[in-house]
Every structure is written in structure tokens, then in C-alpha cells.
């Protein structure tokens, strides 16, 4: 069994390669950096979907893989589905795991915005995009045949500029205590209240999508949910968060959840062990005093 893998990030590629090797695949990887693979096609970086799709198409015609695998990043989803459509194949994105059956694979992914987890079985050959962070695998040994590869330069759109986002190292995944803040917070300055609480508890701060992506009060790395981080702290304190499913799915694996919300009917209630009906502006100062 052969797998062809592409990911623009080396750490994603290594994780996915190990998983595929563990399942018994011969791993062929298209990469911009030295990564683990049985056959490594080392190429200069390119970020346009058309050129990468063309490259994967060329390699897959040569290798005839049983499975074509991408990292489920935005670029990965874009390219995997364009490639799958070209080949008239199934593509399943946002996969949280991968199991190999008899000429078939089974994957899990969230459905209904995160309300449920769906297990999907499809026959090979197939295309999947895996959430690299969710994939668990042990270190493997590889053949490490390296070949230089030229990605054909065939963009269909013109790139005017590209700017790297500033990234902050955030320890949400490892945190024992997380304080999550949502749109119940009225203004950016009020974050100091949340920061004060987090400091007392030695907690990491997380947030809902509007705070990071609309208001830009907190960096994107702190956003929790379907399109953000999935966390599993011992204690999570959720403040001014409505608890819509696309957010709540990210906190499912917390051991204990305390929520503070003015609305007694907020959906957050069903995702909480302790649901405090009240105003964060009255409760937080008192709570900070109490700790």
C-alpha cells in the first residue's frame, strides 16, 4: 500500500507520515523541507493551489497511491478538494483519526457543527485531509530516499503580496486551567479583569471567534472551537460565552466547566457543570478578591 502526502508544514508532515507508516503504508511525501518519508520529493516552497494541485497530480500518476493525504489546513483543504475533483474521487477533510480496513479506510470528523462525531468508511483509493494536531502516532523508521522535485509553476491567480502572521506561543493544549472569554466582554480594556483572574489561577486565556477574528483583541492562537483549538484542561472557566456548538465542541474534553453568563437560557448551560447566572462585571472583581 502506498500513500502520497503533502503538507506545507514540516511538523504536520512528520506526524502524518508516522501515522501512515504505522498503518503499513509506503510513504511518499512532497515537502518544502527535509521530513521523514520512504520517498521524499523535496521541492521549493509554493503556496498557490494550482501549482500544488498539478504537482500532486503528476506525482500520483507516477506513484499510483492508494491514499492521498493532506494536512487539514486551509491550503490543505483547498488543494485536496481541487485534486479530488480532478480525479473524480471522494475527499474527506477535517479528519480526527484514520484507520485502515480491507481496501478501505475509516475516519472520524465532526458533524452538525460539532454536535456529533461521524465515522465514515470509504473505499480506496481516496483523498483525506487530517487534522495534524489530533493525529497520534509513534516514531517510525523510514527508507529516506530523497529526490529533488520541481513543482510546475502554473498559478491561475496572481499573488500581489504575502505577509506572515505574527504568531505567539500559546500553551492552551497543555494548560490545566483555562479562562475563556467571549463577547460578553464589552471592551478591550476590560480584558485586564480576565487577565487578572487568569494570573491568580495560573491559567491560560482562550477566547471565542469574534474576539480573535472580528475584534482582534486576542491572537488567533487563543481561539477555541471547531475552527480553532480543542482543549482538555482540568478546569475551564467560561465568561460571557453563549456556548454555540461551533465553540462548545472545543471545550468538550475539559474535566470541569464553570460558566458565567447573564442569560439563564444561554446554550452554554448544557456545556457546564456549574452555570452561574450573573454579570461578569459584578462577579469577576469579587471572585478575584476571593482567590
Amino acid at each position: 500500500m502506498k500513500a502520497l502526502v503533502f503538507a506545507e508544514k514540516a511538523d504536520h508532515l512528520n506526524r502524518i507520515s508516522s501515522k501512515l507508516k504505522e498503518l503499513g503504508f509506503e510513504v511518499h511525501a512532497l515537502s518544502f523541507a527535509e521530513v521523514n518519508a520512504d520517498f521524499l520529493y523535496l521541492a521549493g516552497p509554493k503556496y498557490d493551489y494550482a501549482s500544488i494541485t498539478a504537482a500532486i497530480d503528476m506525482l500520483s500518476n507516477e506513484i499510483r497511491p492508494d491514499l492521498v493525504v493532506f494536512s487539514s489546513t486551509k491550503l490543505g483543504k483547498e488543494v485536496s478538494s481541487r485534486f479530488a475533483q480532478r480525479k473524480n474521487m471522494t475527499c474527506i477533510t477535517e479528519c480526527l483519526d484514520l484507520q485502515l480496513g480491507d481496501s478501505s479506510i475509516t475516519v472520524s470528523r465532526y458533524s452538525l457543527g460539532g454536535k456529533t462525531v461521524t465515522k465514515i468508511r470509504t473505499h480506496l483509493p481516496a483523498v483525506v485531509a487530517l487534522v495534524a494536531d489530533a493525529i497520534e502516532s509513534k516514531e517510525q523508521s523510514f527508507q529516506m530516499n530523497v529526490r529533488e522535485f520541481q513543482i510546475p509553476d502554473s498559478p491561475q491567480i496572481r499573488t500581489v503580496s504575502r505577509e506572515e502572521k505574527r504568531r505567539e506561543a500559546v500553551g492552551l493544549k497543555e494548560a490545566d486551567v483555562i479562562v475563556v472569554v467571549g463577547r460578553g466582554l464589552r471592551k478591550e480594556e476590560d480584558l485586564k479583569l480576565v487577565k487578572e483572574l487568569a494570573k491568580k489561577l495560573n491559567a491560560e486565556i482562550g477566547c471565542t471567534r469574534p474576539l480573535s477574528h472580528d475584534y482582534r483583541w486576542l491572537p488567533e492562537e487563543r481561539m477555541i472551537g471547531l475552527s480553532g483549538e480543542k482543549v482538555s484542561p482540568k478546569l475551564l472557566i467560561s465568561i460571557g460565552v453563549s456556548g454555540q456548538i461551533q465553540h462548545a465542541v472545543g471545550i468538550m474534553n475539559s474535566k470541569t466547566v464553570i460558566a458565567i453568563n447573564t442569560d439563564e437560557n444561554a446554550p452554554m448551560k448544557e456545556h457546564s457543570d456549574y452555570f452561574i447566572v450573573g454579570d461578569l462585571y459584578e462577579i469577576l472583581p469579587e471572585l478575584i478578591k476571593n482567590l
Binding site: T90, I120, E264, D273, V277, E286
Partner: protein, 249 residues
Amino acid sequence: MKIAVCVKEIYNLEQVKIVRETREPILDVPKKLDDLSRNALEEAIKIREKLGGEIVAISAGSPELRKTIKEALAMGADRAAIVTDFTESSPESAALVLSRILEKDSYDLILLGDASSDDYSGQMASRVAETLNLPQITFVSEIREVSDGKITCVRDMDDYIEVVESDLPCVVSVTNEINEPRIPALKDILKASKKPVENFSLQDLGIEISRSYEIVENLAPAVDRKQEVIEGEAAEVAGKIAEIIGREV
């Protein structure tokens, strides 16, 4: 400017309940127009306000779509072209149906959401663009400029922001943050029922749907929260929270 907006009807997820014993979802709830579809539609309306033209809402769904599509017409689509006997919802079959409807006309711009809030699969822009042999610009957080024959967009990717341009026609998928979709006024809702809706069947389009994968199970994770409600004076409540925190960490 002739703009197609591909929109999706989804279950009203807030109303989907889970059977406690089996963890199965109860899908006997009304459908609605997806949030991301509204973002795409809003962007189309803004372009029409500037450049004039026509907006056609395109969709494939259940018979209920005849009702749901009115939400798109009320928001501002001029007309709709829909398939209402589409119950299999794999990305590849949806892309096939949407592409067949799109092929019936010629569009300068095809807009859609970068994913839907239910499946969050994010394949439709790529699949439709590939089928129609068009360029695509995905994950667009801002449309900077549209003119005759050209579009310039800002893309919000995982680790970078990109400004790209493409010739038209082009497929563009937008993020949830690109705009704040308008809420139709009562008069718009009333007007919507008079707007033309072309309703095709899969057979009209010459499409036979085959299933390429099998759903083995679809269950809610087994998390049972205590859901203990605490109310009272701030100071008293804060004391209780501190107590719980003390127990848990």
C-alpha cells in the same frame, strides 16, 4: 456584473437535541440558510450596489429548500435556481449539482462560503471551480476591488495574509468575518415570494447520485455535564465559585 451565490440550507443546529441513551441526534428540526451563505450573499449585494447587475441564488437541497431559499431572496438575491430532490449530501455530489445549475447560465463571479457551519468540510469552492474549469480565490476576508474582468481579494490563511488577483470569471469563497449580513425587513420578506425561482430535479439535470462512502455511525460524544445552576448576590456567588475552583485544582 452577473453574480451567482451558492447557498446551503442546514438544520437549525441550536434546535438539534441528542437522545440521552443512544447519543443519536434528533434531526426533526426546521432548516435555515447557513451563516456563511449569508456572508457570501451580503458580499454579492455590496458588489451589485456598486456595479449593478443581477444576483442568482443557487442551491441543492431537500423539498424544504423551496421555503429556505426565500431567506436568500429576502436578503437581496434577484432570483434563484434550485434542485429540491437532493438528499445525499456528499461534497462531490453537491458540487456536481451546483455546477450543472451554474452551467445553464454564464456568470462573472461565483461566490460561496468558505465552509458550511454544519459539515465544515470546505470543499465546495475548489470542486465547483475545478468542474467549471475556473480559477478560485478561497478564504477571502476582504474583496478589495471588483471591476470589469478583474477581482482583487485579501485571503486569510492559517499563517499568512495574502493579496491576490484573478481574471473573471472566478470562484470566490468568503470567511465568516468578511461582513455582517443584513437582516431583511418585513417588506423584503414579502417581496421575496414574488421573485422567480427555477426548480430543477436531478433528472432534469441528468444527474444520478451514487454514494461514495458510508456513514458507520454519527453520535454525540458522551459528555455529561452536571448543569448545576448557581444564582445570587455577586459576593456570595463569587465565594461559591472560589470553593469549586479550590476543589478542582
